[in-house]
């Protein structure tokens, strides 16, 4: 069980949105984590520096939150390591072929009503729900 957190989640979501709006307003870029991570994997191309800076900020933020307010950021990863590695590779291949993930397609793409992003988001949401159902209710866990 995890606790239902409507207010924290809504507020956190709004901050994610604000980040996306500001990155577009100042740098003219989509705040898609797939493209940003891919951009710092060699061979490096121009624009890797702002991407590395964005990633550094994103990694630093939870550390600062924990430093300032104590153990307030919940984390529980129930997946065995072998499946974590397999799942990570699958996510990487998927988002590279699909040209985006929850942030790029799900937030930035849908916000500008991109048909590609709407289709992509519906597809991965359905696929994730189906996978969780099979793992938890057909296989009985990993």
């Amino acid at each position: 069980m995890t606790e239902f957190t409507p207010f924290a989640s809504l507020f956190g979501g709004a901050l994610i949105g604000l980040s996306a709006v500001l990155l577009m307003a100042f740098n003219g870029r989509i705040a898609g984590m797939t493209g940003i991570v891919a951009g710092i994997i060699p061979p490096l191309e121009t624009g890797w520096m702002w991407r590395a800076a964005f990633l550094a900020g994103a990694i630093l933020a939870p550390a600062l939150l924990v430093g300032a307010f104590g153990d307030t950021v919940g984390f529980d990863s129930p997946t065995p390591v072998a499946w974590l590695i397999a799942g990570g590779i699958i996510v990487g291949i998927g988002v590279q072929f699909g040209s985006g993930c929850t942030s790029g397609h799900g937030i930035c793409g849908i916000a500008r009503l991109s048909p590609r992003s709407i289709v992509a988001t519906l597809t991965f949401m359905a696929s994730t729900a189906a996978t969780v159902f099979v793992i938890r209710h057909v296989l009985g866990g990993l």
Binding site: P6, A8, S9, L10, G12, G13, A14, L15, I16, G17, L18, S19, V21, L22, L23, M24, A25, N27, G28, A31, M33, V37, W50, A53, L55, A56, G57, I59, A61, P62, V73, G74, F75, S77, T79, V81, L84, A86, G87, G88, I89, I90, G92, I93, G94, Q96, F97, S99, S103, I107, I110, A111, P115, R116, V119, A120, T123, A129, F133, R136
Partner: protein
């Protein structure tokens, strides 16, 4: 300099939002998708908050001809809904459903110092590299 310093601030905002919203927590994400079991609807509120702010904010931003630091907005050019988009997205969902980590949730989770986040991100980067190599090889074969 500001072209790099500002994105660091926006990343800080992004990571704070992910951490507060619960998106850095794989158990919470998996529970959102477990309608038949321990359902936690929180993720819907993350999407609602993010989409409301981004949709309204983009509308204001796109009234300008260009962003403040660049001469144009860098927006995806493709409109094609093809096998790569559908297959890639379906595959991403399988990996997300196995692990509870998506790219945007896993990167801030690194800041929590959790080994599982590090293992996931390393595997994900390997996957991105593999797929990129495959796609480039395929593109070269077509044009050659």
């Amino acid at each position: 300099m500001r072209k790099i310093a500002f994105p660091a601030l926006f990343g800080l905002l992004f990571g704070t939002g992910i951490a507060i919203s619960g998106m850095a927590n794989p158990a919470k994400v998996l529970n959102f998708f477990d309608f038949a079991g321990t359902w936690d609807p929180s993720l819907a509120f993350v999407m609602a908050g993010a989409l409301a702010v981004t949709a309204i904010g983009y509308r204001l931003v796109f009234r300008r001809k260009a962003p403040l630091f660049e001469d144009r907005f860098h927006l995806p050019a493709s409109n094609r809904i093809d096998a790569n988009l559908l297959g890639g997205s379906a595959l991403f969902g399988i990996g997300w459903g196995i692990t509870g980590f998506c790219p945007g949730g896993s990167i801030p989770a690194l800041g929590l110092g959790e080994p599982d986040a590090l293992i996931f991100v390393a595997a994900m980067m390997l996957g991105i590299l593999l797929a990129r190599t495959l796609r480039r090889a395929a593109a070269t074969r077509v044009t050659a």
